[in-house]
């Protein structure tokens, strides 16, 4: 067997056999609609998804919600954060929601695209970064970026991440948009 075949065999075996099965099962449950008891409310999920899709809108590549970023944020809130951090996130989302409603009289999801971008723009470049709204947005943005770029679809279709390489090239030419 040639080296290339061995590598391919190793990669295939890894993909099929060595998955952490509890993780696969957990994501299958989430995809089927499971929500943890400590997860976000429907209104909070709507706000998270709305902001996430302003950060990463659908273009020639998927949007944030296309690749399940809302579920990812919900999981982190429910199961990864401890009680204090979860409470801060929830309180911050509620504060953003209250701010949106006080200005427009409607929840974020019901605003038109321009209004949504204006709100996210204000959160992204706030006059005061210490407000609960600004801090919550900053935390949420980090989660959105991580959840988006680690999703299976973005890894495969957008970044075209490879697992194995025949060599390490420390000075490869870089062309924007080239496959990784």
């Amino acid at each position: 067997m040639k080296r290339r075949d061995l590598l391919r065999a190793a990669g295939a075996a890894t993909a099929l056999s060595f998955l952490p099965r509890d993780a696969e099962a957990a994501w299958a449950r989430i995809a089927a609609g499971y929500r943890a008891a400590e997860g976000l409310t429907a209104a909070q999920r709507s706000l998270v998804g709305g902001i996430a899709d302003v950060i990463f809108p659908r273009t020639d590549t998927p949007s944030a919600t296309d690749v399940g970023v809302t579920d990812w944020v919900d999981l982190i809130a429910a199961e990864y954060y401890d009680e204090n951090v979860r409470a801060m996130l929830v309180a911050g989302l509620n504060a953003i929601d209250a701010q949106v409603r006080s200005r427009s009289g409607r929840p974020f999801a019901e605003l038109d695209a321009d209004a949504q971008r204006e709100i996210v723009g204000g959160l992204d470049a706030p006059a005061d970064r210490s407000t609960v709204e600004a801090r919550t947005y900053s935390r949420l943005k980090g989660l959105v970026v991580h959840g988006y770029f680690t999703s299976q679809r973005v890894e495969r279709e957008v970044l075209r991440v490879r697992t194995v390489y025949p060599k390490f090239d420390g000075a490869a030419d870089h062309r924007p948009g080239a496959a990784r």
Partner: protein
């Protein structure tokens, strides 16, 4: 009821040192029993190709499981969401430390030990290191010099495969290298700038690593997937389960017994020899005794010392082989992590492709040819360069289509960073003892670790930051920022000392052959034997000493001396 079996040799531990003892002893004709406290590991346990989306927490880790099972181990970078299986359960394996002297003991109990998760960096020591204690009076004089160990470095390197570049440095001797991994375009640029700025005194080279850059001894070349610490299905980096243990197995003289917690070395006062070991079966909790003509302790620095301290008798009430009173003393680790990082302008038309499981190394330059600084000895530096890619997005202003496109297409600028790995002076007050009250799951007294950084280490840490920063600036970096380290002892996972070698029996536990002065058929060949820490990663030195000691032991047996 105690069961007994007899072998020619017993090796306690199956990791980096234990694997080498097993290989050398079996290849030299001895029926050898290797005892491993943890369970077996198979290829199906390796998880290096698992992608983040295949992990429930996308690589963040399972916080509840980590808090429950790995409250200490999780501080190690390799104890991640899928790799934590290669680290011990802290509840079953307690240890203690003074409240004002925290210690981090990262441990792997499985066949292969910590050789599965190690950092793979391998650097020969030189006479600058073997003569240091004698020259400045800290610690005892090593009973060996570089010339004694150099052939054994070669012996080890030829078998396991080391990638590296020859540099001709006296303080960092070249080895038997496979082709070097490639430096990035930024690292190559920085190397030349630093060489020019510091008159050739400071040399940035590609890391020397136990990773194959070409097929070697039946193992495949690296496929640059990245996280070696999670295992390797192609055995492209050195661990004992992929190379030394299979070599031992091939002789037909190896017996490997997992789930065997060695509780004590049995001493026969009539012959002044180690009779064998008492093992607690980790699953049945039953005692089993094994006897052999020679016993090799390769359980890791703290475990081997703990085992000797727990092996008491009327002859050795303070621990086996402890007539010198030095057992458990002069414990060291490397203090590490202080350094600097900066942005490297330009090179935006270049990128790295592949995940290189290696970085750059800057050889020690302080106190090499003359005393230069307000501290003794020195440090090496490890680091690397890269472009941040989408990972910068969380802290980058922007949103919307242009923001997304920028994170997908634009890799961000280059960053270059390095941190120091510093030598720790051997100090009699840095100790391993047995905790009088705390026991592990198997009823064995826990180790109590009292190891502290002292004035010399602190002064060196400060200089690391300056040393890196001035090199980054010389290389052309901008926005250079220094960083200090608060890593406690143990965090570097380079524990050394506690059963040191010595020229005379009154100043150490082992002679120049890693043989216990008091118990002639007992050998300790892991990090416990070290008299000083140097600043280089120590594992290859353990391997070389182990192979050398095994050859000596078998020759002595053949001469009828053991």
């Amino acid at each position: 009821m105690t069961r007994r079996e007899t072998y020619d040799a017993i090796v306690v531990g199956s990791g980096i040192s234990g694997g080498w003892a097993a290989k050398e002893l079996t290849e030299r004709g001895l029926r050898t029993l290797v005892l491993e406290a943890g369970g077996a590991v198979t290829m199906n346990d390796f998880v290096e190709h698992v992608r983040p989306h295949q992990m429930k927490y996308r690589g963040y880790g399972d916080p509840a499981a980590m808090r429950r099972d790995h409250p200490i181990q999780r501080e190690c970078y390799a104890c991640d969401e899928v790799g934590h299986k290669f680290f011990v359960n802290d509840n079953d394996n307690p240890y203690t430390a003074p409240a004002d002297a925290p210690f981090r003991w990262f441990r792997g109990r499985q066949v292969g030990g910590r050789s599965i998760t190690w950092g793979r960096q391998v650097y020969r020591w030189s006479d600058l290191d073997f003569e240091a204690n004698a020259k400045d009076g800290h610690g005892n004089d090593w009973p060996v010099r570089y010339a004694d160990i150099a052939p054994w470095y070669s012996h080890v390197e030829r078998f396991i495969g080391i990638t590296g570049a020859r540099e001709g440095l006296s303080q960092l001797p070249d080895g038997e290298f496979l082709p070097p991994m490639e430096m990035t375009v930024v690292e190559r640029h920085a190397r030349e700038k630093i060489l020019a700025a510091f008159g050739g005194e400071r040399v940035m080279t590609i890391g020397r690593a136990a990773v194959l850059t070409q097929d070697h001894n039946g193992r495949q070349a690296c496929h640059y997937c990245g996280p070696c610490e999670r295992g390797c299905v192609t055995h492209s980096y050195f661990n004992s389960i992929g190379s030394t243990l299979p070599a031992a197995e091939a002789t037909g003289r190896l017996t490997l017994r997992p789930n065997s917690v060695v509780a004590e070395v049995l001493y026969d006062p009539g012959t002044s020899r180690a009779r064998g070991v008492r093992v607690i079966d980790a699953q049945t909790m039953q005692d089993v005794e094994y006897e052999a003509r020679v016993v090799f302790l390769c359980a890791s620095t703290i475990e081997s010392v703990r085992l000797m301290l727990n092996s008491t008798s009327p002859t050795f009430p303070d621990g086996l082989g402890n007539s010198s009173g030095t057992l458990g003393r002069y414990v060291m680790d490397h203090h590490y992590g202080s350094g600097a990082s900066g942005n490297m302008p330009g090179f935006l038309d270049k990128r790295a492709i592949g995940s290189r499981p290696n970085g750059i190394y800057i050889a020690r330059f302080r106190n090499v040819n003359a005393e230069q600084k307000d501290f003794l000895r020195g440090y090496g530096m490890q680091g690397g360069s890269g472009r941040s890619g989408w990972g910068r997005g969380g802290g980058m202003p922007g949103y919307g289509e242009d923001f997304k496109r920028a994170l997908i297409d634009d890799l961000g600028g280059w960053r270059l960073s390095a941190s120091g790995w510093g030598e720790t002076l051997p100090d009699v007050n840095n100790t391993i003892t047995l905790d009088p009250t705390v026991k592990d799951k198997w009823g064995i007294p826990a180790a109590h670790l009292d190891v502290r950084w002292r004035e010399n280490e602190t002064a060196m840490d400060n200089d690391m930051q300056v040393g890196v920063a001035e090199m980054l600036e010389a290389a052309g970096c901008t926005n250079v920022r220094t960083h200090g380290s608060n890593n406690p002892p143990g965090h570097c996972i380079h524990e050394m000392g506690g059963a040191r070698m010595s020229k005379t029996r009154d100043e150490g536990v082992l002679n120049q052959w890693n043989q216990a002065w008091d118990v002639r058929n007992l050998f300790v060949t892991d990090g416990a034997a070290m008299c000083s820490s140097a600043c280089q990663n120590p594992s290859i030195t353990y391997m070389a000493f182990t192979a050398r000691a095994a050859a000596y032991a078998v020759d002595a047996m053949n001469r009828g001396e053991l």
